[in-house]
Every structure is written in C-alpha cells, then in structure tokens.
C-alpha cells in the first residue's frame, strides 16, 4: 500500500536524512514531537480551530461550468485553496508547523521562501501564535517580489535577502539550513514544502492532506462518487501531495502532477524535475533533481517563482517510479493562456503555479468523456502575479506588432 509510506523515513529508496550531524538531534526531537502531537486530540482540535475559524476551511469545491463547456469534455471542478487565508494552500502547513513549534517550546521560527507565499504564510501564522519569524529569501526574488517582502514585514517578520549562489529559492533553503545549524537549540525550521530531511516530507504532506480529504468528502456529497482524476501543480510538491495522498490507495483515481515546463523541456530552461531530472541528494533528501552530469545542481526557470525549484518531494519520486501518479509539464505560454482563460470564463484569477495544472487539466478533459470528473487544485490566487502577466503579455504584443510591421 503506497499510503503507508514513509517506512523508516523513506519513500521506497527516496527521502532519508542527509543532514549535517549538528542537525541530527533537532530532527530527532521534531520526529518524536510530531509523533506525539499527531495523535493528540487537543493539538488536532486547536489546529482545526485555527484552520476553520481563522483561515476559512473548508474551502469550496467549485464546479467550473463555463470552463467545462468551453473545453467540451470531462467536468472540471476547482478546489479553491485560493480562498484560504493568506491566498494559498501554504497556510495549512504554516499553521500546523507553527503550532507544533509552539508546543515544542521553540519561540524563534525560520523559513525559506521563493516568491514569498510561504514567507507570508509563515509570517501570519507566527503573528497569530505569538512567535518570532525570520524568512530567508534569495536576493533576486526579493527584487522580483517586493510586494510580498512588504507583506511579510507588515506581519512582523524579518526578511533576510540571500546573496549566495544563484540568489533564488534553493540558496534561501541553504541559508535557512545554515541558520538552523548555528541556532539549533532555540530555533524551529518551518519548511514550506514536502521536501527536506525526514520527517518534513511526511509532516508537510499530512498537514496539506486536508485538501484531499475535503475533496473526497465534497465529491461524495456533490456527485456520490470519487473523481476520475486529480490534477495539481508540482514545484516542491506540497499542494499536489496534499491533494493526492488521500487517494493513493484508490487505484481508479488518476493522479496527475504538473511541473513547470518553462520555455520547453528541450530548451533546458524549465523546472520539470520529474520529467527531465535524475536521482541525487539535495537539502537533506534523496530524490529527483535537475543537475548536470557532474552532480552540480542547476539553476531552473519558470515564469512562476513558486515552481522554480531544482528538486522535488521524495514521495513524488516514489509515485513516479511506481507509476501511481503521472507527471507532465506545462510551459510558460500554456500557463499564461490558462491564467487568462480562467480569469475571463470564471472570474477567478489563479496564481501562475496552478495555472500550469489548469492548462494540463483542459487538455486532459478533452480526452475524457463528459461523465468523467477532474478535480484541479487551485492552490493560490493570482493577485501576486498580475504584474508578471501584464509584462509578459505586453512583450508578446510588442513582438506581434514588430512582425506585422515587417
């Protein structure tokens, strides 16, 4: 049963704890604290209180009628994580881990962030629970996502721009790990995705599984059956893992992860780790990576900063090898098209990350029958992306005009 992993900290051969010895006691402490609180009714009650009363769970499962008619195939439902407090699914995990950290007596929380969504999620969870938050963010991303930097600061977090390496998400994680090593006795590292050493991939998946559990229940209420396919975007892979996990042992439900194809897999400028990567060790885990033939981790590209990561959660690596989930990629162009289409047809501006999933779901729906049901996890809202999309469309239009002029 795939749902019973990890076993001894591993998802098949993936996962593990490739960490400096200084972190070993911290990771062991976290493992036993999580085991304790996972089954503690008081902890679960408190978390459920925050998820419901503070963050707005359950989120709706919305039938996208206009989109479905436009595509002309399977029925498309959207799991509206964009309506969750904070604007993305990240809050499920940050509330869970911040509450756990508080129970563990850790007052100082550190986190990494790419586009800033996990940083914002961490900052708001720490604000409401009375914890100190410090967020590492690549200097390039700080420049690209000024609005989210200000949001984090407004919520009381301290943002550290990271100048090392490629100055993006992977370097922010490196720097957060270094901070954790230096302050291991007082600090809790709140990882934002199903990545890192065990128990993080398992724990983050568990906190995000609220998505899939709700989908299952809502689908039964709405249609009296399970969906035929669940589609979600994959960067590190937390919203996908949270959507997939409750369905792992329901073999009839097709699970599709959609990675960022950037300028196309062949161009080399993408973040499609599972589609084009190879196995290796990064950030404490054995998993698929985008790396060169000598083992140096590569810089990735995606129009959506949230998918711009050269690794992927180890559980996804296992699901790929076991062929339990299929993994595809949508390019920048396809994601933008889906972004615009959903905005116009349904009045929902999706984040660029799930726009990749929507694009793929539209293709998939065409191949399926009208009685079939696809659930797409709409992992976040697109307000943060409107500037990027506007710039993108402007430059496309300029390109077209030039062509006409010739």
């Amino acid at each position: 049963m795939l749902g019973s992993y990890p076993v001894a900290g591993k998802f098949g051969r993936y996962g593990g704890k490739y960490i400096p010895e200084t972190l070993a006691p911290a990771v062991e402490e976290l493992e036993s604290a999580y085991e304790k609180y996972k089954n503690d009714p008081d902890f679960q009650k408190e978390l459920s209180y925050y998820l419901t009363e503070y963050a707005g769970r359950p989120t709706p499962l919305y039938f996208a009628k206009n989109l479905t008619e436009h595509v002309g195939g399977a029925k498309i439902y959207l799991k509206r994580e964009d309506l969750l407090h904070g604007g993305a699914h990240k809050t499920n995990n940050t509330l869970g881990q911040a509450l756990l950290a508080k129970k563990m007596g850790k007052k100082r929380i550190i986190a990494e962030t790419g586009a800033g969504q996990h940083g914002v999620g961490t900052a708001l969870a720490c604000a409401v629970l009375g914890l100190d938050a410090e967020v590492y963010m690549g200097a390039k991303d700080v420049e690209r996502q000024k609005l989210n930097v200000f949001r984090m600061e407004l919520l009381g977090a301290k943002v550290h721009p990271v100048q090392s390496g490629s100055k993006t998400l992977k370097d922010a994680i490196n720097e957060a790990i270094r901070d954790w090593i230096a302050n291991v006795n007082t600090t809790y590292y709140l990882i934002g995705s199903v990545v890192g050493p065990h128990p993080y991939p398992m724990m983050v998946r568990d906190f995000q599984s609220v998505i899939g559990h709700e989908v299952k229940q809502q689908m039964r209420e709405l249609q009296g059956k399970l969906p035929d396919a669940v589609v979600a975007c994959v960067g590190g892979g937390s919203n996908a893992m949270g959507s997939f996990y409750p369905f792992l042992d329901d073999q009839d439900v097709m699970l599709c992860g959609v990675e960022a194809g950037g300028h196309g897999i062949k161009s080399g400028k993408h973040s499609a780790t599972l589609a084009a990567g190879s196995q290796g060790v990064l950030h404490g885990m054995f998993t698929y990576l985008l790396q060169d033939e000598r083992g140096q981790v590569m810089e990735t590209h995606s129009i959506s900063a949230g998918l711009d990561y050269p690794g992927v959660g180890p559980e996804h690596s296992m699901l790929k090898d076991a062929k339990r989930a299929r993994y595809a990629a949508s390019t920048d162009d396809e994601a933008i098209e889906a972004f615009v289409t959903l905005s116009r047809l349904e009045g929902i501006i999706p984040a660029l990350e799930p726009s990749h999933a929507i694009s793929y779901a539209m293709k998939l729906a065409k191949e399926m029958s009208k009685d079939d049901i696809i659930v797409v996890t709409l992992s976040g809202r697109g307000d943060k992306d409107v500037q990027v999309v506007q710039d993108y469309l402007d430059s496309k239009n300029r390109g077209k005009k030039k062509k006409h002029a010739k």
Partner: protein
C-alpha cells in the same frame, strides 16, 4: 595495509604531536595556485591535506568557503579536475595523507563506489562528507572499506551519547569533531561547551580512534586550547582560504601560507 592517515596519526602520537589538517578548495583561486598552496602548507608542516571538491550547494560551509567554492565552479572546476589535482599532489608527496571533502551528491551522481575507486586511483586516502550522517552511511561505508579508504564521520557538541558510540564505531582515519554550533568559518573565540565536547568524545573514543577538531580554528592559541582538552588534531579551512583570498600577490600568499602552517604546527607540538 594500513592507510596513510592511520600511519600518520600513529607517527604523531609516538612523537606526542597533534595533527595539523589543512583544507584547500580545489581550483581556488585556480587549479595551479591551489596546488601550489598545498605544497606551501606541507612545507610549513601540514600533516594531512583535505582537498575540497566544490559543490553547488554546500550547506555546512560558511561564507568564506562558499565563496571560494562558487568561484571555482564558475571557473569550470569539476570533480574530475579536482581529482587530477590530487593525482598531481600525490606524485610529489607519496606519503602525504590526502582526504577529499565534498557533499554526497558529487558521489551519488557517478555512483558511490565508482567515484571512490576513481578517487583512490588518483591518490585519495579517504572522504569527509558533511551531509552524510550514520543513518545514511551503508553504501558509503561498504564501498570505502572494500577499497581500503577512510570514511571520516563528523560529531557535534550536541551529539547524543548513543549516536556518538555509533559514530566512533563507524568512522575510520579519525573522528571529525565540529567545534561549535554553526557552519565553517574563522571565529574569534570558543566557549566552554567546545572543550567539554572534546573531553566527552575523547572519553568515548578511548584510544580506538584519533579525534580532530575543526570549524573556526585560526590561531595557535585555539590549537593549544583544543590540544589541552585532549584533541589529537586540528582542522583548519576558512583561515587558509582567507589568506588565499586576501593576499596581494601569489608569491606573498604562498609565503604567508608557509608561515601560517609553521606557526600552527608549532602549537601542535607541546
């Protein structure tokens, strides 16, 4: 056959000296200069040389070594080129113990045993992998022991007694005790917990395996402090890279390295 690292520690113990382990990033500032730096350190009295094979994501390293690794990678230094450097050093120094320090992924990419076997051909005596704890060591330990290479494990001041016993059992060549909570990089001073950790590790290691202390050491006074608590050796990295990045000319830099190693080695002798 006993490997060069164990032989060197035996020799040093018999002379009542501590081992001076010096770290150089392969290809920083360029391959030729890093090789000359190794020669200078040996002339000054380094007992063991650690060659850093640059990796894109060195999570256990501080700003000094990160910057040096990044610069080497930018200049196209590959693991193969780093090993060729080792081969060349080996030719001139047949008895010098040579360790490779890098991160797991560099080995995993090629295949752990294949990479180790090739490294051995190039004259490497052992490996230090700071992101490989005992839990994940199986394949690495097997390959190293099959090839007669040392696999040096790290311990930290917060390592539990149970883990420490496991590490003492697993490590070969020596045990690398990380002096502080933190990453690599020169420090001004050390706290009492560092010395307590040395005493504690020495107690568990008994006389089975030498204990070398690293991270942050940069002065003879630091060495005397560590030696006083029972350390069998010290590992110096960032302080060396600092000298290499700050000197105004290569000639001056190499002379500074000789002098630096000399003064450090003096502190290793009581």
């Amino acid at each position: 056959m006993q490997n060069r690292i164990a032989a060197r520690f035996d020799e040093l113990v018999s002379r009542d000296e501590r081992a001076l382990v010096c770290y150089v990033v392969a290809g920083y500032p360029d391959l030729k200069t890093s090789e000359e730096a190794i020669d200078a350190l040996v002339v000054g009295g380094a007992d063991i040389i650690e060659i850093g094979i640059p990796f894109s994501d060195p999570i256990a390293d501080g700003p000094t070594i990160q910057a040096a690794s990044y610069s080497a990678l930018e200049k196209g230094v590959t693991p193969e080129k780093a090993l060729r450097l080792a081969k060349s050093v080996r030719k001139r120094h047949p008895e010098l113990p040579l360790l490779a320090m890098t991160y797991c992924n560099i080995l995993v990419r090629v295949g752990v045993e294949k990479f180790m076997a090739h490294a051995k051909e190039c004259g490497i005596d052992g490996f230090i992998l700071p992101d490989m704890p005992v839990e994940e060591a199986g394949e690495y330990s097997q390959a190293a022991s099959k090839l007669g290479l040392s696999l040096v494990f790290l311990a930290s001041p917060n390592t539990s007694e149970a883990r420490l016993r496991n590490i003492v059992k697993s490590t070969s060549g020596f045990l690398y005790l990380v002096s502080v909570y933190g990453i690599t990089g020169a420090r001004k001073s050390f706290e009492g917990y560092t010395l307590d950790a040395i005493r504690n590790v020495k107690r568990l290691a008994e006389s089975k395996i030498p204990v070398a202390v690293g991270f942050g050491i940069k002065t003879p006074a630091h060495i005397r402090l560590m030696a006083g608590a029972g350390a069998d050796g010290v590992i110096i990295g960032s302080a060396i890279v600092d000298i290499m990045s700050k000197s105004s000319s290569k000639k001056k830099m190499l002379k500074e390295l000789v002098d630096f190693a000399k003064s450090m080695k003096r502190a290793c002798k009581k």
